[in-house]
């Protein structure tokens, strides 16, 4: 059953999937990795992004990616508000992140229900001219439906790493992660910085949601299926390392794809999470952890 052709295709499919996973996990990587905010509700913001893309696509035939970008500022604002509530209720009082976890679980349910009430329980899909098409390079076929999310995921990762290392705010965000007291001494308000960072994380969900609905049909509760994956990726990559997140996303994507091709798709998720367990047992801080 093994052939070079299959192997190459599986590898490419894995990379494509990994790029998409990176897009979905970026927000977690920022919130959880850099800010220590256990935003377990991140996947529901992704689903929210999917529905935003769906609405514009259904009504005006707008390209999902475009609406993903259009909605990003709105999502940024949502993120700002959520973080303010979170900060006032938990961080300011020095509560453990654990309580925040329950808070985000609650938030996840509330948004899920809001989507259910508004859109019902049907699976939603979008139309775009490139869905269902693919290009072939030699023996390797690449579906546009997966290529676009991968490329966008890579670009987003690149943009965020650049932002974090090159700009003032970016470096401040990294500073917050390491030493917020030092930041305060420099006259920068760490809360403001964290608010911006969290908003940025939620803004990525807008784009990631658009990518998700490009790949597969969406229904309000499917976000739950991503909780495990995104946290696995963030942790596998090592907290605080955006590049690590990308690597971990690619590893998981390739592992899933190879398992699906060569042994049995039924085991693909178990293999991914098995890898995570192994890495955690051997290298507790993840692959690129601080």
């Amino acid at each position: 059953m093994f052939s070079l052709d299959l192997f190459l295709n599986a590898l490419v499919a894995g990379v494509l999937l990994g790029g998409f996973y990176a897009a979905v996990s970026l927000g977690i990587s920022i919130a959880f990795g850099l800010l220590d905010v256990v935003n377990i509700g991140h996947p529901i913001f992704v689903i929210l992004g999917s529905y935003a893309a769906f609405v514009l696509n259904d009504a005006y035939g707008l390209d999902p990616l475009l609406s993903g970008v259009l909605f990003a500022p709105v999502f940024f604002l949502i993120g700002v508000v959520v973080y303010q509530v979170y900060y006032l209720s938990f961080e300011r009082k020095g509560e453990s992140p654990l309580r925040g976890l329950v808070f985000f679980f609650g938030l996840l349910f509330i948004i899920e229900v809001a989507l259910l009430l508004k859109f019902g329980v049907d699976y939603r899909l979008i139309e775009a001219p490139y869905i269902g098409r693919s290009i072939h390079i030699g023996e390797v076929g690449i579906a546009f439906r997966l290529l676009v999310p991968c490329v966008v995921g890579l670009l987003m990762t690149l943009a965020i790493t650049q932002f974090l290392s090159r700009t003032f705010y970016g470096r401040a965000i990294k500073g917050v992660a390491q030493d917020s007291l030092a930041l305060r001494l420099m006259g920068i308000d760490p809360v403001r910085i964290k608010t911006i960072a969290f908003g940025l994380g939620i803004a990525t969900a807008s784009v990631a949601g658009a990518l998700l609905i490009m790949i597969s049909p969406v229904e309000p509760s499917i976000g739950r299926a991503y909780i495990g994956r995104v946290f696995a990726i963030a942790v596998l990559g090592g907290l605080g390392s955006i590049g690590g997140t990308l690597t971990a996303a690619l590893i998981l994507g390739i592992a899933e794809s190879l398992t699906a091709t060569f042994s049995g798709p039924s085991w693909s998720l178990a293999v991914s999470f098995g890898i995570l367990l192994l890495v955690l047992a051997v290298r507790p801080a993840g692959l690129f952890g601080r």
């Binding site: 059953m1 052939s3 299959l6 295709n9 599986a10 499919a13 894995g14 494509l16 999937l17 998409f20 259910l116 859109f119 019902g120 329980v121 049907d122 699976y123 939603r124 899909l125 979008i126 139309e127 869905i131 269902g132 098409r133 693919s134 076929g141 579906a143 439906r145 997966l146 790949i215 597969s216 049909p217 229904e219 509760s221 499917i222 299926a225 899933e256 794809s257 190879l258 699906a260 091709t261 060569f262 049995g264 798709p265 039924s266 693909s268 998720l269």
Partner: protein
């Protein structure tokens, strides 16, 4: 700090208050016949569950408009089972012991019927089942009736048409791939598909399952393509159906027949978005708007259902489940009228003995409560153009190929010919 207490208190009080409101409506009229059930209104099966509920409510309103059953109005008491089997025992005991309903019917789907079975069996109640697969196989309970037309071999009914049609082709396909979701319905359908493939001498060259949360289906499709099967049978839930169809076209998997047991290709939301990508796919079906499937009342039912569905935000076509939910209630209603009472034993005996005229046609149950003869059809999508929803209401788009008594057109074979 004490100020916070009232807020929490108000929240709890509000919840309780809401609960009282829910109860109040139930005691309005004198001596109604009360029918209770749990239904998936949230969770994985909610799209179908809400459609079924709507159909049942239409039945209730129809009956009440015509003067009720035995001159008594019909009322429903129903709870959301959240597509979670653990809620079902509580729901049915509540219905029976607290609400004291006269009759119970099942919620939608095998996993949600099963936990109710011991409760109804213990009390020897008549139990109408809505789309359960083999729920009564172990119990052999004589007062259980299931409305989906799966017949005596439920698992095999979804694939029989697909493989029978394949076997009729010349040259006969020699190999098949079987693939499906790691979930209840697809697994049953795959068991049936294996039986039929074996019976008809078609060799299985690929037989694997994937988790329902799979994102990318192209690796699976490539692995299938590498085994070069003549036909490909897919048993899937909506995300898998969509994923497999898109991936097959991207990878260029073009077997001679493709499809089989794909759930979701009956719902408007997927049909309109997949549009022409559906052409050539053979799928199982229960009811489609073909002239050969017309039965008295189904048009009238759909005319009531469709506008109501748009309003309620559920599947606006309603070909898959709603007519059957309506038919299930019709059987129950007719039995109540005929036996002139609510005696569970008499009702069950009557339902066993008689043939019923329903919106889905004539229904006759076998000894195990399944249809005496199975009537799941195989259909093919043909001539789908664009993404307009209206075309799916017209004949000639979802052509019935099998069984012969409902046949409304011919299989376009091979699959690639229908894709042109």
């Amino acid at each position: 700090m004490m100020r916070r207490w009232p807020v929490v208190g108000v929240l709890i009080a509000a919840a309780f208050a809401l609960s009282c409101v829910g109860d109040a409506g139930a005691q309005a009229t004198k001596q109604p016949i009360r029918i209770g059930f749990g239904m998936a209104l949230t969770g994985g099966l909610a799209a179908n569950g809400q459609g079924a509920l709507l159909a049942m409510q239409i039945w209730r309103d129809d009956v009440n408009k015509a003067g009720g059953l035995l001159g008594r109005p019909v009322e429903f008491t129903y709870y959301d089972d959240q597509t979670n089997g653990s809620t079902v025992p509580g729901i049915y005991t509540k219905l029976l012991d607290v609400d004291k309903v006269d009759l119970v019917v099942s919620g939608y789907g095998t996993n949600l019927i099963a936990p109710a079975m011991p409760i109804v069996m213990e009390r020897k109640l008549l139990f109408m089942g809505l789309f359960g697969l083999g729920n009564n196989e172990k119990h052999k309970y004589s007062r259980y009736f299931q409305i989906a037309p799966n017949g005596p071999n439920p698992a095999g009914s979804f694939s029989e048409g697909f493989f029978e049609l394949a076997a009729r082709q010349n040259p006969k396909p020699k190999t098949t791939a079987l693939v499906g979701d790691d979930a209840e319905f697809p697994q049953h359908a795959l068991v049936g598909a294996r039986e039929h493939a074996k019976r008809l001498g078609i060799q299985v060259v690929y037989d694997k399952t994937y988790p329902p949360s799979t994102v990318d289906y192209t690796p699976i499709v490539r692995a299938i393509k590498a085994t070069n099967p003549d036909i490909v049978f897919v048993a899937s839930y909506p995300p898998g159906s969509t994923g497999m169809i898109l991936a097959a076209q991207e990878v260029g998997l073009e077997p001679k027949m493709f499809g089989g047991g794909m759930v979701g290709l009956h719902f408007t939301s997927l049909l309109t978005k997949l549009g022409p990508k559906l052409n050539g796919i053979v799928d199982y079906g229960f009811w489609v708007p073909e002239p050969t499937m017309k039965s008295p009342g189904v048009e009238a039912f759909l005319q009531k259902y469709q506008p109501a569905a748009v309003k309620a935000g559920v599947d606006p076509l309603g070909f898959y489940l709603p007519p059957w939910a309506y038919a299930m209630m019709q059987v129950l209603g007719q039995a109540i009228e005929a036996t002139k009472g609510l005696d569970q034993q008499k009702l069950a005996e009557y339902i066993h003995a008689k043939e019923f005229d329903t919106v889905v046609g004539k229904v006759k149950f076998g000894p195990d409560g399944e249809w005496l003869k199975h009537r799941t059809v195989a259909m093919q999508f043909q001539n789908i153009k664009g993404n307009d929803v209206e075309q799916f209401r017209q004949p000639g788009k979802q052509v019935v190929l099998w069984p012969d008594e409902f046949k409304s057109g011919n299989l376009i074979y091979p699959y690639s010919a229908a894709r042109k």
